[in-house]
Each structure stands twice: as C-alpha cells, then as structure tokens.
C-alpha cells in the first residue's frame, strides 16, 4: 500500500512520518511515537480511554485515522507536564486520590482540560457531563470530579502546552 506522508504537531513538536494510511491515530501515538500514556480500552469509541485533544476538541484516537490528523495539532497526556513538573490537572488528581488503576486517567485529564478551556468555572454537573464519555470502573468518579473542581479553582494554571 502507498505510504501516507503525515505531518502533524504532537505536544507542540512537529512530526513528519511516512505511514500506512490505514493506521489509527492511536496506533501512531502508541506504536510509532511510543507515547503510551494514551490507552486503548474498547477500541470502538465507547470508553474514552484513548482520548486525546485534536486541535481544540476531545476525540477518541481509536476512531480517528492517522491521516485525518494531517496538518493538525495533537495533545496527549505526555504534553501536560513541563520540565518534569506536573500540570495543575495532574497535581489535583494526585492530591485528591483520583487515580486507582489509572487506565482512564489520561483521558479524564484531557477531557477536563478541554472542558476548562471552554468553561473555566464549571459546575459539578458540567464536569460530570464533560467526562461522561470517559468510563471509570474503579473510582466511582467522586474524586475525579473533585480533582477537576480543584484544577478549575487554581487561578494560575501553568499548562505545559496550551495549544498544539
């Protein structure tokens, strides 16, 4: 099969690759770029574990063909910490104990980030709605919602990469 020349920004860094055009964005992130923070859960767009930010939007990277990301910017969980310092979302999750098995965590944090970009003062209900496409089987969501509330309340959000 003819290779597709993919150019995109991942966590602010320009990437150029020749890939099989049938690859999913998830495959490129995990298997080629080795950004394994993005998890594959169901692989059919139902669980949200593979969520990444594509431009300004939260997407399931298992449902996006890699060529669809051509010319666009992707943020993965690896793009949040800056010089080894956790960003406020990660820090808040850690402090309130929002992480158990951790499989949903990258998607949850990226979903929170998209929410807070659009709605800096979300209500509990806004938060629950924003993460309702990201399933968690461990936490009962209580501490995840609490972590997002804390992240939202931090006035100075030192984001690692604000835009891809």
């Amino acid at each position: 099969m003819a290779q597709f020349h993919l150019e995109m920004k991942v966590n602010g860094k320009p990437i150029a690759l020749d890939i099989d055009p049938g690859l999913r964005l998830l495959d490129v992130l995990r298997d080629i770029l080795h950004l394994t923070g993005t998890k594959e859960g169901c692989g059919e767009g139902e669980c949200g574990a593979c969520s990444v930010i594509l431009d300004d939007e939260l997407v399931d990277s298992c449902l996006i063909l890699a060529p669809q990301a051509h010319g666009r910017g992707v943020i993965t969980i690896e793009g949040l910490a800056l010089n080894g310092e956790l960003d406020p979302y990660q820090q808040a999750f850690l402090e309130v104990g929002a992480v158990q098995c951790g499989y949903c965590t990258p998607g949850m944090i990226l979903a929170a980030r998209v929410l807070l970009n659009h709605n800096p003062k979300p209500s509990k209900q806004d938060i629950a709605k924003a993460i309702s496409g990201n399933l968690c089987r461990c936490t009962g969501y209580a501490k995840i919602v609490q972590g997002i509330e804390i992240a939202a309340s931090l006035k100075e959000t030192k984001a690692g990469v604000s835009r891809a």
Binding site: C42, Q100, G102, T139
Partner: protein, 331 residues
C-alpha cells in the same frame, strides 16, 4: 409521576479465601541509607495495596513512607502473596509485610541495644531514629545499619501470614471460614419515574467498618468505586446470553455507570481495630459493593410499594411491574 424512596441494606463479609489456606509472604531489605525495599507478590490493581504496604513497612521500621520502595507482583523475584481478591491484601499481605519488617526491626533493635548498652525492651525505631523508652537516643537508624554492615551483618527480614481458619464440616457446613469480617450499612435515596421506569439514585450513605483505615483516602476511593459498581449491578448491568453466546459484549450494550449516573456518595469510615490485622486493619474491596444493590432495590420498593426480585431494575421491568399491579388491582 416521580416517586421518591429510601432503602437500607446491611452486610457482613469474610476477609480472605473461604475456609482455605491463602498465605502471603514478604521480604524486607533495610538498606545502608536507612531506606527499605519490600518484596511482595501482591498485585496492586488500582486498589492501593502498594501504598498501604509501604505505609505498614514504614510504620514498623520507624522511617518515612517515601523511604520505602515496593517491588510487587513479579514472580521472578517476589514471594507469593496470593491473589488480589477476596478483599484480602491489606489484611493478609499487610500482615506478611508487618512480620517481615518486624523481623528486620528486631535485628536493628538488638544491635542498637548492644551499642547503647540498654535493654532491648526499651528500644524502638521512630522518625528515622533509635529511641530509648520515649526519648530519642540521638542515634539514627542509618548509623545502626552502617554498624551492622561493619560487622558483616545484612539487615534482611522475611515474613508470611495465613489467616487462621478451619475447614468446613462437610455434613453440617460448620467451621471458621474466615479469620475476620467486614461490616457495612448503606442507605440509598432514589427517585423513580413511573412514566418512564427510570430510576435515579439521588444519594448514597455508606458506612463501613474497615478496622483501622491505614489510608483513609484510599478507603474512601474503594467505597465510592464499590457504590458506583453497585449502582450498575442494581440498575444497568446484565450479561445477556443466547445459546452460550454473549449478546451484549460492548460498552454501548452492556452499560456501566458514567459520571452522570453516580450521585453524591457520603462515606463514613468506622474504625474498629481488628486485633489480628496489621495495625488493626481488615479489608474493604468487595464489601463496598455488597449492600448497594439491595439498598437501591429496597428504595425502589419503598417508592413504588412493589417488591422486585430480579436485577437489574431496568425501566422495562419497572414499567411491567407497575402495569402488572394495575391489572391485579383492577380484578
């Protein structure tokens, strides 16, 4: 019409495997720099066992939890600690780690007593220092471990623990299947829509006797997660089988609760120290889930005056039950 109801459910649940041996082992290496490595077969699958085991080792050795490294669930190097199941790891592996750490601690205490020329009974380890009765001797644990090294002594410890149980009598079913039990009560408030049959859980209060809560934040997390899973069990989750084949093998057909389905969960931790547990701890993993569906089903019965006997309480079943009652009443 929306009808509100309240339900309560109580449970007790045995910690560890039922009437069967289920031992855990642990190794502790107290290093020259005053930090410790704990080897345990215990798999942390998100419940926080590595955190709790580090806390238990740190408490026993008198050092900071940050100075404990847990090497876990690696059959190449770690001793067997059984499965992360049966709500057993804090209790069983926690005891193994405690015993292994006590084993090392006794060696350090013996050397410290000899060097300080005081009886071993008055020596303890705390805050990285050697204590004589309730006063710090001013000597650090690190110094004692270095003294051990200069004498050619390695400070290694091992421990294992198996809950004390008996087999069950095959005739009567009697015996002691568990060494200890967890207890809990949960109360749920629900609202059921009599037009749509949809049940909304408004809040859950969950009171759990966990022995000593070694890590209260993790205990809360376990309870909140258990309640969410219980809501799924009560209202959503059903494996549909046809000719041995699962008909709903996806997250869009086998529904689990999302953040929109889980209400405020008020956790109440009851700390009743368990004498056989590590620092008084028992377990909370499964108990968190056990009473939730019963509390919700009781609340639905309270709201509708109809007792339903089959989970999950789907809108279809609730509408059918309401309709059935109307027909019965009409006769």
């Amino acid at each position: 019409m929306k009808k509100r109801g309240y339900g309560i459910a109580n449970m007790w649940y045995g910690i560890g495997n039922t009437a069967n041996p289920n031992p855990s082992g642990a190794f502790v290496d107290f290093l020259d720099d005053g930090t410790a490595i704990v080897l345990t077969g215990c798999a942390d699958i998100g419940q926080g066992s590595s955190t709790v085991l580090a806390q238990i080792a740190a408490e026993t050795l008198g050092i900071c939890v940050e100075d404990v490294v847990i090497v876990s669930a690696d059959t190449e190097v770690t001793p067997d600690a059984g499965a992360s199941s049966a709500s057993r790891q804090t209790y069983v592996s926690g005891n193994a780690v405690r015993l292994a750490a006590e084993n090392v601690r006794n060696q350090v205490i013996a050397i410290a007593a000899e060097l300080l020329n005081i009886p071993t009974e008055t020596v303890s380890l705390s805050q990285g220092e050697i204590w004589n009765s309730d006063k710090s001797s001013g000597m650090s644990i690190k110094e004692i471990i270095n003294k051990c090294r200069s004498k050619g002594i390695l400070t290694l410890g091992h421990g294992s623990y198996n809950p004390v149980t008996t087999e069950l009598d095959p005739e009567t079913g009697q015996g002691i299947p568990y060494a200890t039990y967890a207890f809990a009560t949960q109360v749920s408030e629900i609202e059921v829509d009599t037009e749509t049959g949809i049940v909304e859980v408004k809040q859950i209060v969950a009171a759990h006797d966990v022995g000593t809560a070694i890590n209260p934040q993790n205990v809360e997390g376990q309870i909140e997660g258990g309640c969410a899973m219980g809501i799924g069990y009560a209202l959503l989750e059903e494996v549909i089988l046809k000719d041995g084949e699962i008909q709903n093998p996806g997250m869009s057909t086998y529904l689990i609760p999302t953040a929109l389905d889980v209400p405020e969960i008020h956790t109440i931790i009851i700390e009743e120290s368990e004498i056989s547990g590590p620092y008084g701890a028992k377990g909370v993993g499964e108990p968190a889930l056990v009473p939730t569906a019963a509390a919700i089903a009781n609340a639905v019965a309270d709201a509708l005056g109809i007792r339903m006997y089959e989970l999950p309480l789907t809108p279809e079943k609730i509408i059918a039950a309401i309709k059935n009652r109307k027909e019965v009443e009409a006769i």
